[in-house]
Every structure is written in structure tokens, then in C-alpha cells.
């Protein structure tokens, strides 16, 4: 077993512009499960070099204790993509996030480049994970093939803003236009048994709207959501954290399952409702999300 592998909850991933030193150094203190140090869209063209240098230093010197650290690099076909990979891959953050991936050929090419850099630095190929962003109609069409291309890909994510632009949507804030894409991307992730992040919610003042959207995407099956302001973290974490009532119910189901298993009973009832293997599986997931060890219930 690889003891270097770290596991994180992935309810919230906070975007931090790579050229903002104050935000970079404070990124881990707000309670997000992960931080996403951004070299791409949050950084102006004339700041790309500065951001790359700053993020490289931060990865060396700042402890993001308890947070999963992902760096979003620029697309490989931009003038910055290759330099980003050369600077970031040797530092092996927990993951790198690749934007606007559209085809299998593209992901093949990028992973090859990443692994060449890792070979140059005598680094393993299985430590740093790869996250893929689907942000175009073509990417949505190819999402399963992309997501299943490599075992290194352990999460995919929908980039709602770019996708809406690619789809030429005029009004995108109600999420109707990208609803199909959301569902398609979730299904691909589930088929590959990997995590899936929802896009950002841009109206930072609208806390109720954020909560509604988080509840909706949780029902769709998303693992968590990208966050653009620390004030959004608490709401999304709350939505993705089981309530006390949910935990009690899940614990009851799991206990009943253990009891019945000994007697060879596979299907039984809890509080008048049928429980079978998939229900137990969902209950186990609730306990996992609540950090409750099954052995201790």
C-alpha cells in the first residue's frame, strides 16, 4: 500500500489567484477541503510569469496543512502551458488541474509531457493526481473517454462559465443551459469511479442561491463544488456534510445490516422501509462523509 497517498474530503475547493500573495498564504485557514492555486483564468496575461514564480515559491514554503493542494495550469496550447508544467510538476502538488480538455489525444499528449518532466526529476508517476476540466461542448461529448484514459485522473470538473460561452448561452446564471452537461459529466465520473466537482457560483452576495445550487448538485451526484470566495465555504460544506438526523438513520441501517448479516438475511426493514445492499452502501457513504468509523458505531 502506498503510504504517501493522502485522502481529503472534496466538498469545497477554493480558487486562489496565483498572483495574490496574501490570499495564497492564507488559503488553508478558511476551512475549505482543498485549495486551487490558479495560474489560468484568474491571472491576467501580463501577470502569468509572476503568478507561476509566486505559486512555485508558495508550494515550497507554505504549509497548506489539512488542505488538498491543486494547481490549475494554463492550457498546453497557450504560450504559458508548457512553462507552467515545467515549473509545477517537479514540485508535485497533490494534483494539477488541466483546463479545457476536449479530446483523448489532448489528454494523452499532456500526460506524456507531465511524465517526461517527472522522469527528468526522477519522480514517480503515481503520486500527483490529475484533474481534468470539461469546459466545452466537445469536451462534454468526449468526457467518458477522457476521464477513463488514465488511472492518474482522479477527478473531473465542469467549468460552467466557459461552457456557457462555448454554447453561446446568453443567460447562464440559472444553470438550465449547462444542466445536461452537468449530468453527463457526473455520469462519466461515476462510471470511472472518480470524484466530480461542480462549477463556481459567481454571485457571492447571494447565499441562498448558493445553498440552493449546492443542494441541487449534491442530488445530481457531485462530490463537491469549486468556491471563489471564502464566505461560500461554510454553506457548501454544510450542504455536503450529513445532518445529525441523516447520520443517526445511516448508523441505524448499518447496525441492522450487521445484525441481519450474521443471520444470513440480505433484505430487511428499518422504520418500515426496505433496506437492501444499495441502501446500505449509501448509508456507509453518509458515515464516511461524517468521519464516523463503522467499527465504532
Amino acid at each position: 500500500m502506498d503510504t504517501n497517498k493522502k485522502t481529503f474530503k472534496r466538498r469545497t475547493m477554493l480558487y486562489i489567484p496565483g498572483n495574490n500573495p496574501a490570499m495564497l498564504q492564507q488559503g488553508s485557514v478558511y476551512g475549505a477541503d482543498g485549495v486551487l492555486l490558479d495560474l489560468e483564468d484568474a491571472v491576467a496575461l501580463n501577470q502569468k510569469d509572476a503568478a507561476r514564480i509566486l505559486v512555485s515559491h508558495m508550494l515550497r514554503y507554505i504549509s497548506y496543512e489539512g488542505c488538498e493542494v491543486t494547481v490549475r495550469v494554463n492550457h498546453i496550447d497557450t504560450p504559458f502551458g508548457m512553462d507552467d508544467l515545467k515549473a509545477i510538476v517537479p514540485l508535485q502538488p497533490d494534483a494539477i488541474r488541466l483546463p479545457k480538455v476536449e479530446t483523448v489525444d489532448e489528454i494523452r499528449r499532456i500526460i506524456q509531457m507531465v511524465e517526461e518532466i517527472e522522469d527528468e526529476h526522477e519522480l514517480p508517476h503515481d503520486k500527483m493526481k490529475i484533474h481534468v476540466m470539461i469546459e466545452t461542448a466537445l469536451g462534454v461529448q468526449n468526457v467518458y473517454d477522457i476521464a477513463s484514459f488514465s488511472a492518474r485522473i482522479d477527478a473531473i470538473s465542469i467549468g460552467g462559465q466557459d461552457l456557457a460561452a462555448d454554447m453561446q448561452l446568453v443567460k447562464a446564471n440559472d444553470g438550465i443551459g449547462i444542466d445536461y452537461a452537468r449530468k453527463q459529466i457526473v455520469m462519466a465520473a461515476k462510471a470511472c469511479k472518480i470524484d466530480v466537482f461542480d462549477t463556481v457560483y459567481v454571485d457571492v452576495e447571494n447565499e441562498e442561491g448558493l445553498r440552493e445550487e449546492a443542494e441541487y448538485i449534491k442530488k445530481l451526484g457531485f462530490t463537491g463544488k469549486a468556491i471563489i470566495n471564502p464566505r461560500q465555504i461554510e454553506i457548501v460544506n454544510e450542504v455536503f456534510t450529513p445532518t445529525e438526523q441523516e447520520i443517526r438513520k445511516a448508523a441505524k441501517i448499518v447496525k441492522a445490516f450487521e445484525r441481519n448479516k450474521k443471520e444470513g438475511i440480505g433484505v430487511f426493514a428499518v422504520d418500515g422501509k426496505m433496506v437492501d445492499a444499495p441502501v446500505v452502501q449509501r448509508a456507509l457513504r453518509v458515515l464516511e462523509m461524517a468521519d464516523i468509523d463503522v467499527a465504532e458505531i
Binding site: 498564504q25 478558511y30 471564502p230 464566505r231 461554510e234
Partner: protein, 516 residues
């Protein structure tokens, strides 16, 4: 000589006299009977049906017979909108009065226009709970011949009672008053709320002038200051900038860092064992401190907990909690926003109290002694939990002692909330520049990078750990901060003592030396 916190305190100081070193928060009070004599309020008489009304502030001040070397007092209930302090000093200067001791319960940015009068010898000494801005810079540079004295809100009352501050003239701004001087801050176009600090000055000053922009029919109701203490009454067009005096409600901060610290502080309070039915509570009006109330409100609603009383500086947020039934009453010495005034006026469970009842250590029990939980800020905190709320990173005076040490000493749980560093400057450090509140009064420090419990509260630490809260040693937190910010160079001070910091019992907890 050194006080118990190892701060070097001179035995005597020119302009002050003998200094008594700080020996611990309760060493002196524990005796129960204070050696300091209490000075009597002045005996005065007024003929029936004579008028106290003056046509303007200057006339009133002239009638009080001002003299060189006098002490003039003011309150800071008008917050950043006050015009009366500056106007009074300008009049005194115009009358050629010199060597004034200015005793204002606090000084805000609105008072900066008095700076020329500090520089030209009109004002030669200041007693205040807080000094900020350009005045704070100037006094730290040693512009006054006599040392300034920083006291707590409770300490100020003690000083007035013992005659350390001997007020010759107090000028009291009110938002409504009658011709006899019965006055209030609870209504009128410039309503500002409680007059808790002014009431004490009215009782002890040799001459009392009430100034208002709103004369009401006799008798003014309610009455914070009553006519039996008032010599003169003045109607002016304006007591200050209404948008700053009576400006709306205090909003909870949206700054992510403050909110994060507040969220952690609320978790600490939740698991401290003190957040239970009937608890009493005080928070400051600033950033993270007030934001704690937001999270406590949520916890109280979820767990169906009802508190007893809210104390201190009161915001509309506290009033909302009273109206929701989360607390039974508010005891209000100072209101932080205009929305509080109408509650003070109409709700019998929102009670105006004097600074004496609030925090004076020399009486049979002030209300800060009945506090369960208080949340306070800090400019700096050291690894012995000593807190500085008065001097900034350059050594200038830029804060207020306020009720910090009063509430910290009285509360069962004192929580300090602050970021671990600001900009490049460490806030949690080995030694603070100036001590205002001793570490023995601080129970928990909450920062974004860790929560530290004072070693003298092991049972609290245990409760928090049981509640799943990670605790750091404060020395480890300071080291972690230093690793990020580097070690700040100590402030270069001269030898001259330009100010002293009185603890609430009148002993000297620290001195402030001239900034080079």
C-alpha cells in the same frame, strides 16, 4: 522598580506623582476595603426659577470661570461624529486658557482638530481610555510636557471617585435636553443611545454644561443626566455630524478572515461548557468580535438556549437578539449605532447603566464581574497571553483600553480573537510592546491558524479537546507565525516616558516611551 509582569515602572513620574506597580488583577481588590479616599461630589446651590440657559457654548464656558491648569472632561458617546469636544477646546483656547488636562472617556478620529492645541500648550495632559490617529502619533512622539494616562472604562470611574481625575468642567452633549439640563441620548435627531460615561462626570465635575441641538419641553424624559447636577444648558445648531452620530446599524463584517476567526471562536464558546441556559455575554463592535455574535446566535437557536443579559457597548445586532428572545435584557453603557437608541427608549428590558455599575473596580460589584463570556480583540498578544490594545506596530498610540481589562478580569471565559499576523507583522509574539490586559485574565486565544488555551485553565482545555477542537501551544503558534513573517525588529524607543497605562485598580501595568 519592576511590576509583576517585569515591566520597568519608575517610582515617581513628573506630571503624575507616585506610581504603584501592578501586582496582579485581584491583589489589590481582594482586600475589599480600599485605602484611597473617595472625594465627595461638589456641593452647589441654585435659586428657584433662575435660568440655566446660555445663548451659546462660549457664554456657558465663560460662566463656568475657566482657569489655567483646569481639567475638562467629555464623553465619547457621539463616536466619530462629535463636534462638542473640539468646539469647547477651541473656545477655551480663544479665551487664552493654558495647561488644560483633557479627560475624555475616549478620543476618536473626530477629535483630530485639537492637535494644534496639544502642540501649542493649551492642552498639556490627557487622561483617556483611547487615543488614535494623528493625536496618538503626536503624543507618542512626546509632544506634551506631561505624560498621558490610559485608563480602562472602569478605571476612569475609580479615578474620578478618588480624585485622581478632578474634573473642573464637563461639557456633556445630549440629543435631547430640557432647560434645567435633564438630558438623554435616546431620542432626538442626533440620538446616540446610552450616556453611561457622561453620568459619572456630571455627578463629580465642579461645573456641568449640557449641550444639545434639541431642547424639549420640561421635563425631558427619560433622564440619563438629571438637573440636580447641571449648571448650564446650551442649545446649539448641531452637536456633530448626524450621519456619523446616528448612522444606521452596525453590520456584521464580510471579511472572510474575520468571519473564519469568529466561526472558530463560536466553536470554542460552544464547547467551553459556559454556553448554557442563562449565560451572560459581551462582544465588541469590531470585525471578528461582533461576528462571533452571529454564530452564537445560530447556536443558541439550534440548541434552544436562552441567555440572561447582554452587557457593554451595544449594537443593533444585540438588540435583535433581545427582540428575538435570545437574551432577557441588555445593560447598555454605550451604544454603537443609532438603531440601538429606539430600543433603549422603548424596551424596559434595555437598560441604560453608568460606567460605575458597568466596570468600576472600587465598588461592591460591577456588572463585568457577572459576565460569563466576553469576546475581545487585540493589537498584539504574547506567549504569556498579555494583550496590547493600545500601541501599534510602530509604537504610536492607536487604540483603546476601553473595557478590555475590566471585562477580561470579570468574565468566566475571556476569548481574544485576532489574526495571527497582519500584513507582514506578527500579532502573536514573544513579548507585546505595551501590556494593557494581563495574561492571567485571558483564557483562550482564537486565531485563523490555531486556538490556544491559557495553561491556568486546564479544565477548559479538556472541555475543548472533548468537543473536538484542536489546541495549539501559544509558543508553537508564535513560532509558526514567525516562520511566515520573519522576526519583526523591536520598536526603537527613547528613554523618556510619555504615557502610562493604568490597570483598572490604578496600579501601573506598563509605560509608553517616546517613539524616536
Amino acid at each position: 522598580m519592576k511590576n509583576i509582569l517585569q515591566r520597568e515602572i519608575p517610582e515617581t513620574l513628573e506630571g503624575i506623582g507616585e506610581l504603584e506597580p501592578f501586582q496582579g488583577a485581584f491583589t489589590k481588590l481582594r482586600k475589599g476595603w480600599m485605602e484611597e479616599k473617595k472625594v465627595p461630589p461638589p456641593n452647589k446651590a441654585t435659586m428657584p426659577h433662575s435660568s440655566k440657559m446660555c445663548s451659546n457654548l462660549k457664554e456657558a464656558i465663560i460662566r463656568t470661570k475657566p482657569r489655567n491648569g483646569m481639567t475638562v472632561s467629555f464623553h465619547h458617546h457621539l463616536r466619530g461624529g462629535d463636534n462638542i469636544l473640539v468646539e469647547s477646546i477651541r473656545i477655551l483656547a480663544e479665551l487664552g486658557i493654558k495647561d488644560i488636562t483633557l479627560a475624555s472617556s475616549s478620543l476618536t478620529s473626530a477629535h483630530e482638530p485639537i492637535l494644534p492645541y496639544i502642540k501649542n500648550g493649551t492642552i498639556t495632559q490627557i487622561y483617556s481610555s483611547g487615543i488614535r490617529g494623528e493625536i496618538g502619533k503626536a503624543v507618542a512622539q512626546g509632544v506634551m510636557p506631561k505624560p498621558f494616562v490610559i485608563h480602562s472604562h472602569g478605571g476612569r470611574v475609580r479615578s474620578v471617585h478618588t480624585g485622581n481625575i478632578k474634573i473642573d468642567l464637563t461639557v456633556i452633549a445630549a440629543s435631547a435636553a430640557d432647560v434645567e439640563g435633564n438630558s438623554t441620548g435616546a431620542h432626538g435627531p442626533s440620538a446616540f443611545g446610552s450616556m453611561g460615561y457622561a453620568v459619572i462626570d456630571a455627578r463629580y465635575a465642579r461645573q456641568v454644561v449640557v449641550v444639545t441641538d434639541n431642547i424639549v419641553d420640561y421635563p425631558c424624559v427619560p433622564q440619563a443626566v438629571t438637573q440636580n447636577f447641571v449648571d448650564y444648558v446650551v442649545k446649539v445648531d448641531s452637536i456633530g455630524d448626524p450621519s456619523k452620530i446616528a448612522g444606521g446599524t452596525t453590520r456584521i463584517t464580510k471579511a472572510p478572515m474575520d468571519l473564519q476567526i469568529a466561526r472558530l471562536a463560536a466553536q470554542v464558546i460552544e464547547h467551553s461548557g459556559l454556553l448554557k441556559e442563562g449565560f451572560s455575554f459581551q462582544v465588541g463592535a469590531g470585525g471578528a468580535s461582533l461576528a462571533v455574535a452571529k454564530y452564537i446566535r445560530k447556536i443558541m437557536k439550534n440548541k434552544d438556549i436562552k441567555g440572561s443579559f447582554l452587557l457593554g457597548g451595544v449594537t443593533s445586532y444585540g438588540v435583535d437578539m433581545l427582540n428575538e428572545g435570545l437574551f432577557k435584557s441588555i445593560f447598555d453603557v454605550q451604544s454603537f449605532d443609532a438603531a440601538v437608541s429606539s430600543s433603549l427608549l422603548t424596551n424596559p428590558y434595555h437598560i441604560e447603566i453608568t460606567a460605575g455599575l458597568y466596570a468600576n473596580p472600587f465598588n461592591c460589584g460591577c456588572m463585568t464581574n457577572k459576565l460569563d463570556i466576553v469576546v475581545l480583540g487585540a493589537l498584539e498578544i504574547d506567549t504569556d497571553f498579555n494583550v496590547n490594545v493600545i500601541t501599534g506596530s510602530e509604537g504610536y498610540v492607536r487604540g483603546a483600553s476601553g473595557g478590555h481589562s475590566d471585562t477580561a478580569s470579570g468574565a468566566n471565559l475571556t476569548v481574544v480573537v485576532c489574526p495571527s499576523f497582519r500584513g507582514r507583522i506578527p500579532i502573536v509574539k514573544e513579548k507585546v510592546h505595551t501590556i494593557v490586559t494581563p495574561g492571567e485574565s485571558i483564557d483562550v486565544l482564537v486565531t485563523e491558524r490555531g486556538i490556544c488555551v491559557n495553561p491556568n485553565r486546564p479544565e477548559l482545555k479538556e472541555n475543548l479537546i472533548k468537543g473536538g477542537i484542536a489546541i495549539k501551544e501559544i509558543k508553537d503558534l508564535a513560532a509558526e507565525v514567525e516562520q511566515i513573517t520573519g522576526k519583526a525588529k523591536p520598536i526603537e524607543n527613547g528613554e523618556r516616558i510619555v504615557g502610562i497605562v493604568e490597570y483598572r485598580d490604578g496600579t501601573i501595568i506598563d509605560v509608553i516611551r517616546q517613539v524616536k
